[in-house]
């Protein structure tokens, strides 16, 4: 399987503090990779480096096979048209309406006629469950969940193959968090997306991620499917999956009877 994003020998250091020590990570085609880690473990920094917003101190990040540091401007531009990013707080343009926020990337192509842009925008908004009555509103008039939905619509405007999600459910109430996860799941099936997702929410991780990468102690201590990860003996993983919250999340999965059953069972066996 080919790697859409690959991180090779990545080091990050702020002053004397080492954030990442020799990281290697591949994101495979059409998978959802969840990156978890404690706060301050450098999850968001890693994401910013994958997006080319920050430069790693050493090592390389390749997206679609191009090194972000050495790629030509034209390649970078083409690359950026094929990925979408959902920032943690949405990062909507506060001076533009919901409609204009989603229309912006389409208008920047300078190729689409206005009526087509309008239809595409309404299509994307509908896709993320935002009604037409919200289109003329300003971002400050929206609730947190709606801001994330609109931001997702903007991220999907150019029909990207690769989607980055930074804490997609953080700051949402459980219900909107759940429906947001559902939304991403449906979109992922419809649009054939590769997703890189940062989260610290176990429910989100369990219901979305095909593989999980765990960042701790400045390194990726484990990369693999959930059931592979759960049994690894590491203090962070133990506290993540085997704490009270983790147990509840896994038990919920257990009840629904999907393929993650064995994960929950494995986790429980591991404790006892």
């Amino acid at each position: 399987m080919s790697a859409i994003v690959s991180v090779e020998g990545l080091w990050t250091r702020y002053g004397k503090q080492v954030i990442h020590r020799d990281l290697d990570l591949d994101v495979r085609d059409s998978e959802v990779l969840g990156i978890v880690g404690g706060s301050g473990s450098g999850k968001t920094t890693l994401l910013r480096q994958m997006l080319g917003l920050d430069r790693p101190m050493r090592g390389a990040v390749k997206v679609f096979g191009h090194d972000l540091e050495t790629a030509s401007a034209a390649d970078l531009r083409r690359m950026r048209r094929h990925w979408g990013v959902l920032f943690q707080h949405g990062a909507l343009f506060t001076a533009l309406t919901v409609f204009d926020n989603v229309a912006l990337p389409l208008r920047e192509l300078r190729a689409l006629p206005a009526p087509m842009i309008a239809d595409l925008v309404m299509l994307k908004l509908r896709m993320v469950g935002i009604g037409a009555e919200h289109a003329p509103k300003m971002p400050s008039q929206l609730s947190g969940g709606m801001i994330k939905r609109v931001a997702l619509a903007r991220a999907l405007a150019l029909q990207p193959e690769l989607l980055f999600l930074d804490e997609p459910t953080a700051g949402l109430d459980p219900e909107s968090g759940e429906s947001f996860v559902e939304l991403i799941n449906t979109l992922r099936k419809e649009l054939k997306l590769t997703v890189v997702m940062i989260t610290h929410d176990l429910d989100t991780l369990i219901s979305l991620a095909d593989r999980v990468a765990v960042l701790a102690d400045q390194q990726l201590i484990a990369v693999g499917t959930l059931d592979e990860i759960v049994n690894i003996r590491h203090p962070f993983i133990q506290s993540l999956f085997h704490g009270e919250r983790g147990q509840r999340a896994l038990a919920a999965v257990d009840g629904t009877g999907d393929s993650n059953d064995d994960v929950a069972t494995a986790a429980r066996n591991n404790i006892s």
Binding site: S2, D29, M116, L123
Partner: protein
């Protein structure tokens, strides 16, 4: 290693006249392949819109491609349409998508438009004035409250603001006032020389700088420098809900944020005026020495006789008043900023422009009210 998804095959039409006139689509109908070819493709599709369509041989089609066809078909499926199942879903989504809201209508022109525009302006100004007045009232109430309980005086904030608006403004005010002093002195000296009235350079510089230039120059620089930053600070605090956070902690922001700024400017600006006066006179003295051969010792000893000391006090009083006004105006605009980036920019601009205008207006009032004071 995978590649950046490449452009794919070009979209094209294949028409067959027999058995029935059918249009079969080939190639990829995606945003990438369409991009520059949208107008001709739409036209062509429109021409075929009455025929039978066959989309089964398309390489790939995305929302953009589907939208293009949808438009060409006149927002409905053609009578005969052959689709793959996943394409069916795509067009169903399009059919269900709501219509985009109509663009806001331009305001209808009418004979009353100019009148209503004036009316809106007036209402806007009244709104500003009433908010400004209540801010002023709040500041007075805060002062009264502190007078009853001096321990609550926000000394740290005041001293921080004096440092930022006063001490840190010393270099720039010095530079500007020195140059203005030189220019003023040089130009006046040329005129005075014509009349042989060289010694009056001291009177001209002394009165104009102490009475007018010093206070106004310092006030304009402070309005631009500190007024804008105060507006922006309050504006961002409003956007990030820091003001709300202060309020729920039981810390009134008028007391903690607004009052210290006003008090600090009322203290710092007179001091800056003194500094500006001194440096501008220094500049004038240097230029007078070069142009008219007036010795520095003579210039300094002649100054007290030529300029009544009332001018200095008037200048300092003006400085204090300007300081209070600049503080009030910048806080007023800062507190009115709405949570979006455009409002922040516009608010800061309005704040500086208004502060400078108010300073000059009030200066004119001072000039009229004190026309009998300090003129020898």
């Amino acid at each position: 290693m995978s590649e950046i998804p490449s452009e794919g095959e070009l979209p094209s039409f294949a028409t067959t006249e027999s058995p029935a006139s059918t249009v079969a689509l080939k190639g990829d109908w995606t945003l990438d392949t369409l991009a520059a070819r949208i107008p001709p493709l739409t036209q062509q599709a429109r021409r075929y819109s009455r025929r039978a369509w066959d989309l089964r041989e398309i390489g790939s089609i995305d929302d953009a491609g589907a939208t293009l066809l949808w438009h060409a078909w006149g927002a409905q499926k053609p009578a005969e349409l052959l689709l793959r199942p996943e394409q069916e879903a795509l067009f169903n989504r399009l059919a269900e998508a709501p219509k985009p809201p109509r663009a806001r209508r331009r305001r209808v022109w009418s004979a009353l438009a100019p009148v209503s525009r004036v009316g809106e302006r007036v209402v806007d100004i009244i709104d500003h004035l009433s908010a400004f007045t209540s801010l002023l009232g709040q500041a007075v109430l805060d002062v009264a409250r502190i007078a009853g309980n001096p321990a609550r005086m926000p000394w740290r904030e005041i001293s921080a603001n004096v440092h930022r608006t006063g001490a840190q403004a010393l270099p720039i005010t010095a530079l500007v006032s020195f140059l203005i002093g030189i220019v003023l002195s040089y130009l006046s000296a040329r005129q005075l020389k014509l009349f042989g009235a060289d010694v009056y350079i001291v009177d001209i510089l002394g009165i104009s700088i102490l009475r007018e230039l010093g206070p106004v120059l310092a006030a304009i620089l402070v309005a631009g420098r500190s007024g804008s930053s105060m507006t922006a600070q309050l504006g961002v605090m409003r956007v990030t809900q820091e003001l709300d956070a202060l309020a729920v902690l039981g810390i009134p922001y008028s007391l903690r944020l607004v009052l210290p700024k006003i008090v600090a400017l009322a203290i710092a600006l007179p001091l800056l005026v003194l500094w500006t006066d001194a440096i501008a006179l220094l500049g004038g003295m240097v230029a007078a020495g070069a142009e008219l051969n007036i010795g520095y010792r003579h210039f300094i000893s002649a100054l007290p006789g030529a300029v009544p000391v009332a001018n200095l006090w008037l200048g300092l009083a003006k400085g204090a008043v300007f300081g209070v006004l600049i503080g009030l105006v910048s806080c007023h605009f800062g507190l009115r900023i709405k949570p979006n980036t455009e409002s922040l920019g516009a608010g800061t601009t309005n704040s500086v422009v208004t502060a400078i205008t108010v300073v000059i207006l009030v200066d004119a009032i001072f000039a009229v009210a004190f026309s009998e004071v300090g003129i020898p």
